[in-house]
C-alpha cells in the first residue's frame, strides 16, 4: 500500500541501482572513478571473507549444537509439568500429556527445517541432528510413559479381557420351588 501511495503521489523521478557489480567497465557509459579498480576489491575481500566464512560456519555449528540441545530444557520443563499434573485423568493432565507427545513428534517431522539455517558444506550437522532426535525421542518416551501412568495404554491384562464376553455355559438348569 505504501508502494502504491508513492507511485500515485509523486511518481518516479530517478533511481540508482547500487547492486551493479559487474567487472566489465565497458558495459558502462560512465568510466570508473580514478583510483578505483574493480579487480582489487575482489582480491582484497577474498581473505577477509574466508575468515568470515570460517567464523560463520563455526558459529553455525555452535548454533546447531545449541538448537540440538534445546529439547533438553523442554524435557525438563515437561517433566516438571507432568509431575504437577498428577496421575489422574482430567483435562489438565491430558492436555499436558498430549502436548508432550505432540511436541517431539512435530519436532522430529521438522528436523530438516530446524537445521536448515545452519546448513553448510563445512558444518557437520549429523551430531546435532542425532542429539536432537535422541532428545526428542526421550521426550516422546516421557509422554508415552505419562500416558501409561494415566492408564491410557493397553498394557495390562485387564485391558484385553474387559471386552471379552462371558464364556458360554454348556449345561442349563432351571427350576425352583414348585408353583
Amino acid at each position: 500500500m505504501e508502494k502504491g501511495k508513492g507511485v500515485m503521489g509523486s511518481g518516479r523521478r530517478w533511481a540508482v541501482d547500487f547492486s551493479d557489480n559487474s567487472t566489465a567497465p565497458s558495459s558502462r557509459d560512465i568510466p570508473d572513478p580514478p583510483g578505483f579498480t574493480r579487480a582489487s576489491v575482489d582480491q582484497d575481500d577474498s581473505a577477509v571473507s574466508r575468515q568470515k566464512k570460517d567464523a560463520e560456519s563455526n558459529w553455525k555449528a555452535q548454533k546447531a549444537w545449541e538448537v540440538a540441545q534445546a529439547p533438553f530444557k523442554n524435557l525438563l520443563m515437561m517433566g516438571f509439568m507432568m509431575w504437577m499434573a498428577g496421575s489422574t485423568v482430567h483435562l489438565f493432565s491430558i492436555g499436558i500429556t498430549f502436548s508432550a507427545l505432540w511436541q517431539p513428534i512435530s519436532a522430529l517431522q521438522g528436523v530438516g527445517k530446524v537445521f536448515e539455517p545452519y546448513k553448510d558444506n563445512k558444518v557437520d550437522l549429523l551430531g546435532p541432528k542425532l542429539l536432537f532426535i535422541a532428545l526428542n525421542l526421550g521426550g516422546l518416551a516421557l509422554g508415552v510413559w505419562k500416558l501409561n501412568t494415566l492408564g491410557l495404554l493397553p498394557t495390562h491384562a485387564s485391558d484385553w479381557v474387559s471386552s471379552l464376553p462371558p464364556a458360554q455355559e454348556v449345561e442349563y438348569s432351571g427350576g425352583g420351588i414348585p408353583l
Binding site: G151, S158, W160, S162, L164, P165, V170, E171
Partner: protein, 983 residues
C-alpha cells in the same frame, strides 16, 4: 490403569454424587402412577347429604376407600395390613365409617369426609366365630349403638367414642351365629344361629343393656347347611344339610317354628342340591341350582311360590328401603353381549321400577355383585344407580342406562408381568392419529424456546408443561429408538391379561382368558405364570410376539394345567388347551425355534418334563441339547433340594414323544431340626452381562467373575425362628445361606449368620447376591453381599498371550470342570424392612447397577451397588477411591432424593420389575401392588442422550445466527477492503 477404566472414571467423576432426584416440573414426564382398590366386597352409599356424593367400599385386598360417585375417583383410601381382613362396614351418624376387621377383633371409625381415624377399639371374645356388624337405631345415653357379634360374643359399642357399652356371652358351646337382627322400631335384637348342626337357637336380647330376654331353640333332625336368607325381621329361610329341602324358620314372639318344603315341590325338574344366595329382601329369596337362579316368594301365610326361574347368569343385590315399608332390590342378568339391570319392589315381582339394558364389554365377564342406590329425580320419581362388580374385579357405576364410570380394579392383584415390544413403524402402518400438524409443532417449539430464553409468561409455562406431559411422542403405538415404549403385559388374579402402554399407562387391550374361566372341567382355575413365548426379531419380524399363560384347575399341585397363547399386539387368544398333566414348574429353555418360539419345559407333579411347543422342530432342537439340560426342585416343606437329568422317555404313560422322564442326580437334604428353607433366588434368565472381568484399579489387577446361570441362592433359618421377628432369642436363631450349582449340586459357598432371622429378601445378579435379614443381636436389619470370583482363570494375566488371543476365557465352560471359587462378602446395617428388592438391568449390562428396594413405606428406593461393595474399607487408598470405593460405614445411607417414586406411594407393594430400554443408560422400572408405578431410571444418569430439557431449537437457531453472522462479516470485510484499495 486400563483404558476402559480411565473412561469409566470419567463417568464416576461425573456421577460421584449422583443426584437421582428430579425437579418438580419433571414429575409425570416419564413416570405414571395408578391407584386401585381391588375387588369390592361391600359398598355403602352416602348420598343423603347435599355434599359430594360418595360410596364407601371395602375390598378383598383389605382396602377401605370412598369413591366419588361422579367420576369414580378415590377420595381417600386406607390399606389395612394383609391379615387385617375387613368383615363389615357401616356408616354411622352420617359422618363416620365404622369398619370391623381382623376377624372381628378391631373396630375402627373413620371420619367420612377426610378419612381420618376417629377411634379404634379392640373386641375380644372366648372363641373364633363369624363376625357380624349391625347398625342399630338404639340410643343409650345419647350414644348411637352399633352391635357386633364377633369371637363368640355380642358387643354393643358407642358410635361416638368406640366405648364398649355392654357385652354378652352365649352359654351354648357350639353355637354358630348366622344373623343378628334388629326389628325396626324395637329395642331388642335377635341373635339367631345353629348349634350342633341340628338345633336352631334364637336369643332375644335387650339392646339397651344386653340383658337376655328370651332363649328358644328348636331341633331339626335333617341338619342345616350353608347360608341363610332373611325374608322378614322374624323369618329366616335355610336349607337342610342335603340341600333339597327348604326350611322356613319363624321366630315370631319367641316361638320358633320350622316349616319344611322340598324343593321338588316347587320346581318340577330340579336337579341336585341347591344353594341359598344370602340376602335380606322382604318376602323374597333366591336359590341357585346348578346355573339356574330361582326366586321364591314367601307369603304372609308361610306359603312358598316360585316367581321366576332365570337361566342366565344372575346377580342379586341387597334390599334398599326406598320409602315407608317399601323395599327395592337390584338384579342384573346377562343376555348375550348385554346386561339387564332391573330394580324391583320386594313385594311386587311384576312391577319393575327400572329396567335398563346396557352393552357390556365381553372382557369383563360375569357380574358378581350389585349394589343399588336411589335418588329422587326432579319430577319426584325415584331414579336408581347401580354399582356392579364384574368377574375381572372391575367396578362400574350404571345410571340411566349407561356406564358412568368404570375402574379396572383387577390391576390391584397382578400375579405376573412380562413385557413386549410394540410394532415397528412402517410406511403402511398408520399411526397418524396422534401426530401433530406442522403449525402446532412450530408453535410448540416457539413456546419451548421462549421458556429457554426465560421470556415465557406463567401461562406459557403452564402450556409448556402441559405439552411436555401430554407429549404424543411417548404414547405412540410403535417402537422408538430408545426402547422406552413397550407393552407391559400383566396377568391378574381374576385371570385377565392387561396390556399397559409404558408411555402413559393406558390399557391398550385386555383379555379375560377363556382358559382361566370357570367351567365344568375346571372348577377353580388360577393363573400361575406368564412367559414371553415368541419374541420375533431378525428373520421372523412379520410375526406378532406372543405370550404364554400357564394356569391350573384348582389349588392343589396335581390339578390339571391349562395353557394359553395370546398375541401381544392384538390381545387375541391364539390358542388354548387343557393339559392332561399337572404343572409344577415352568422352565423356559435358552433355545428358540425358527419362528423364534422359545422352548419351554413344563414339569408335572410326577416329575415328568413336557416339552412345548409340540413340533418336530422343537424336538429336534431339544434332542441336540438333551444331555445338557437339567432341572432342580426345591421342596421347601421338607428341606430337600433335588437335581434331575432327563430320560429320553416318559415311564408308565402312553407313548408321548414330547414327554421325558427324570432321573435324580443329586439331592441336598437340610437337617429339618435345624434348618428351614425360607427363600431361594436365581439370576434372571435374560440378564445381560457385559464382561466377566472385574478390574481392581488399586493394584491394576483382574479378577474373573464367576458368572453362571445355574446358581441358586438358598436361605434357611432355624425352624423356631421362622416366625415373627423377636419370637426367639438370638442364641436359638441363625440364618444359613448357600450358593448351590444346580447342575452338579455342588455347594459353592455357605455362610452362617448367628443370631439372625428372616424374612429374607434377596436379589441375584451377575456374580453377586444381596440379601436382607434381621440381626437379633444388633436389633437392626442387615443387608449382606456375597461376590463370587473364579480362581481357575486367575492365571490369565499375561498381556502378550491376551493380545494374540491365546487364552481360554471365551471357551465354553462346564459346571463339572470347575470348582475353584473365592467369595468376598460384607454386611451392613439397613434401616428399613423390605417388601421387595430388585436390581436395575440395562441392555448391554455396561451401566453400573443400583438396587431397587421396596421399603415398608411402599416406596421404591434406589441404592447404589457401590455401597454394597465387599471391598469397602475404612481408609481406601487413593487408587481405590478413584475406582469408586466408598469408605466403610456400618450402615447403608438412605438418601431422600434417591426415592424413585418421589412423593408417591405404591400401596401394597408386591413386586418390582426392571426391563432394559434400548438406550444403555436407562432401565424401565415397574412397581406393582395395589397401585401401579412406572418410571424410567438411569443408574448412572443419562450419559448417552441429551436431557429432556435440552433445546434443539435454541441450538439450531444459534448455529443459523452464527452462520449468518460469518456471512455478513465476510461481506462487510470484502467491501471495506475494496474501498481501501480504491482510496
Amino acid at each position: 490403569m486400563p483404558i476402559t477404566h480411565a473412561f469409566l472414571l470419567f463417568f464416576i467423576f461425573s456421577s460421584l454424587q449422583p443426584t437421582l432426584s428430579l425437579y418438580e416440573d419433571q414429575v409425570g414426564l416419564t413416570d405414571w402412577h395408578q391407584q386401585y382398590i381391588g375387588k369390592v366386597k361391600q359398598a355403602v352409599f352416602h348420598t343423603h347429604k347435599t355434599g359430594r356424593k360418595r360410596v364407601v367400599v371395602s375390598t378383598e385386598d383389605n382396602v377401605i376407600a370412598t369413591l366419588d360417585l361422579r367420576r369414580g375417583e378415590i377420595f381417600w383410601r386406607h390399606v389395612l395390613g394383609h391379615n387385617d381382613v375387613v368383615d363389615g362396614i357401616v356408616i354411622a351418624l352420617g359422618k363416620y365409617v365404622i369398619t370391623l376387621s381382623s376377624e372381628g377383633s378391631i373396630l375402627r371409625a373413620w371420619n367420612l369426609p377426610d378419612g381420618q381415624m376417629v377411634w379404634e377399639s379392640s373386641l375380644h371374645g372366648p372363641k373364633h366365630s363369624k363376625s357380624l356388624l349391625v347398625m342399630t337405631n338404639v340410643v343409650i345415653e345419647k350414644d348411637n349403638v352399633v352391635i357386633i357379634f364377633s369371637n363368640g360374643r355380642l358387643h354393643a359399642v358407642s358410635c361416638i367414642d368406640g366405648e364398649v357399652l355392654w357385652n354378652k356371652d352365649f352359654e351354648v358351646e357350639s353355637l354358630k351365629v348366622q344373623k343378628v337382627i334388629q326389628p325396626p322400631g324395637s329395642n331388642f335384637v335377635y341373635v339367631v344361629g345353629f348349634a350342633a348342626s341340628s338345633h336352631f337357637e334364637m336369643y332375644q336380647i335387650n339392646a339397651k343393656n344386653g340383658e337376655l330376654l328370651k332363649h328358644e331353640s328348636a331341633a331339626f333332625s335333617g341338619g342345616f347347611s350353608g347360608e341363610v336368607s332373611l325374608v322378614s325381621s322374624e323369618t329366616l329361610v335355610a336349607l337342610d344339610s342335603t340341600g333339597l329341602i327348604l326350611l322356613r324358620i319363624r321366630f315370631h314372639k319367641g316361638n320358633v317354628s320350622i316349616q319344611q318344603t322340598p324343593i321338588s315341590n316347587l320346581v318340577e325338574d330340579s336337579l341336585g342340591p341347591a344353594v341359598i344366595i344370602p340376602s335380606s329382601i322382604m318376602e323374597l329369596f333366591a336359590i341357585k341350582i346348578n346355573a339356574v337362579t330361582i326366586f321364591i316368594r314367601v307369603t304372609g301365610t308361610g306359603k312358598l311360590e316360585v316367581v321366576e326361574k332365570a337361566n342366565h347368569e344372575t346377580a342379586v343385590g341387597d334390599a334398599l328401603s326406598i320409602s315407608e315399608g317399601q323395599q327395592a332390590f337390584g338384579l342384573v342378568q346377562h343376555a348375550g353381549r348385554d346386561i339387564h339391570l332391573t330394580v324391583k319392589l320386594a313385594h311386587d315381582w311384576g312391577g319393575d321400577l327400572l329396567k335398563e339394558s346396557i352393552k357390556m364389554d365381553q372382557q369383563r365377564g360375569l357380574v358378581h355383585k350389585v349394589f343399588i342406590n336411589n335418588y329422587v329425580r326432579t319430577d319426584g320419581s325415584y331414579g336408581f344407580r347401580a354399582l356392579i362388580v364384574m368377574e375381572d374385579h372391575s367396578l362400574l357405576l350404571l345410571q340411566q342406562g349407561a356406564i358412568v364410570w368404570s375402574r379396572e380394579d383387577g390391576l390391584a392383584s397382578i400375579i405376573d408381568v412380562t413385557t413386549s415390544e410394540l410394532p415397528v413403524e412402517r410406511a403402511g402402518v398408520s399411526v397418524a392419529k396422534v401426530e401433530l400438524n406442522l403449525f402446532e409443532w412450530l408453535k410448540g417449539h416457539m413456546l419451548k424456546l421462549k421458556g429457554t430464553l426465560m421470556l415465557a409468561s406463567p401461562e406459557d409455562i403452564a402450556a409448556i408443561q402441559y405439552m411436555r406431559l401430554k407429549s404424543s411422542e411417548k404414547s405412540k403405538m410403535t417402537r422408538d429408538h430408545n426402547g422406552f415404549r413397550k407393552l407391559l403385559i400383566a396377568l391378574t388374579r381374576a385371570g385377565k391379561l392387561f396390556a399397559l402402554h409404558t408411555g402413559d399407562g393406558r390399557i391398550v387391550w385386555s383379555l379375560l382368558l377363556q382358559s382361566l374361566h370357570k367351567s365344568e372341567a375346571c372348577q377353580h382355575p388360577i393363573g400361575l405364570n406368564l412367559c414371553p413365548w415368541q419374541v420375533p426379531h431378525h428373520h421372523a419380524l412379520d410375526e406378532n410376539p406372543s405370550v404364554l399363560v400357564v394356569g391350573r384347575c384348582g389349588p392343589s399341585s396335581d390339578a390339571p394345567g391349562v395353557i394359553s397363547f395370546v398375541d401381544s399386539y392384538t390381545g387375541k387368544e391364539l390358542s388354548s388347551s387343557s393339559l392332561v398333566h399337572s404343572v409344577a414348574q415352568v422352565i423356559p429353555l435358552p433355545y428358540t425355534d425358527s419362528t423364534e418360539q422359545r422352548l419351554h419345559l413344563l414339569i408335572d407333579a410326577d416329575k415328568h418334563a413336557h416339552l412345548y411347543p409340540k413340533t418336530p422342530e422343537a424336538i429336534g432342537i431339544f434332542q441336540r441339547e438333551f444331555s445338557n439340560i437339567y432341572w432342580y426342585s426345591v421342596e421347601d416343606d421338607n428341606g430337600i433340594i433335588k437335581g434331575y437329568a432327563l430320560k429320553s422317555k416318559c415311564d408308565g404313560t402312553v407313548a408321548d414323544k414330547f414327554c421325558f422322564g427324570s432321573r435324580e442326580l443329586w439331592s441336598i437334604v437340610l437337617p429339618s431340626e435345624s434348618e428351614k428353607i425360607i427363600a431361594t433366588v436365581t439370576r434372571k434368565l435374560n440378564e445381560a452381562v457385559h464382561t466377566q472381568a472385574k478390574l481392581i484399579a488399586a493394584d491394576q489387577d483382574v479378577m474373573y467373575k464367576y458368572i453362571s446361570r445355574n446358581l441358586l441362592f438358598v436361605a434357611t433359618v432355624a425352624p423356631k425362628a421362622s416366625g415373627e421377628i423377636g419370637s426367639v432369642t438370638p442364641e436359638e436363631s441363625w440364618l444359613v445361606v448357600y450358593l448351590i450349582d444346580t447342575v452338579t449340586g455342588f455347594v459353592l459357598h455357605r455362610v452362617t449368620h448367628h443370631g439372625s432371622q428372616g424374612p429374607v429378601e434377596a436379589v441375584f445378579s451377575e456374580n453377586w447376591v444381596v440379601y436382607h435379614y434381621f440381626n437379633l443381636r444388633a436389633h437392626r436389619y442387615e443387608m449382606s453381599v456375597i461376590e463370587i470370583y473364579d480362581q481357575s482363570w486367575a492365571d490369565n494375566k499375561d498381556v502378550w498371550k491376551l493380545v494374540v488371543g491365546k487364552h481360554n476365557l471365551t471357551s465354553p465352560i462346564s459346571s463339572y470342570s470347575r470348582s475353584e471359587v473365592v467369595t468376598k462378602s460384607q454386611s451392613y446395617f439397613f434401616t428399613h424392612s423390605l417388601k421387595a428388592i430388585a436390581v436395575t438391568s440395562t441392555a448391554k449390562g455396561i451401566t453400573s447397577k443400583q438396587l431397587l428396594i421396596g421399603t415398608i413405606g411402599d416406596q421404591v428406593l434406589a441404592l447404589d451397588k457401590r455401597f454394597l461393595d465387599p471391598r469397602r474399607s475404612v481408609n481406601p487408598t487413593q487408587a481405590e477411591r478413584e475406582e469408586g470405593i466408598i469408605p466403610l460405614t456400618d450402615s447403608l445411607p438412605i438418601i431422600p432424593q434417591s426415592y424413585i417414586t418421589h412423593n408417591l406411594r405404591v400401596e401394597g407393594l408386591r413386586g418390582i420389575i426392571t426391563v432394559p430400554a434400548k438406550l444403555e443408560s436407562t432401565t424401565l422400572v415397574f412397581a406393582h401392588g395395589l397401585d401401579l408405578f412406572f418410571t424410567h431410571f438411569a443408574p448412572s444418569r443419562t450419559y448417552d442422550s441429551l436431557t429432556e430439557d435440552f433445546s434443539c431449537a435454541l441450538l439450531l437457531i444459534t448455529i443459523v445466527v452464527l452462520v449468518a453472522a460469518i456471512f455478513v462479516t465476510w461481506v462487510l470485510s470484502q467491501r471495506k477492503e475494496l474501498q481501501d484499495k480504491w482510496r
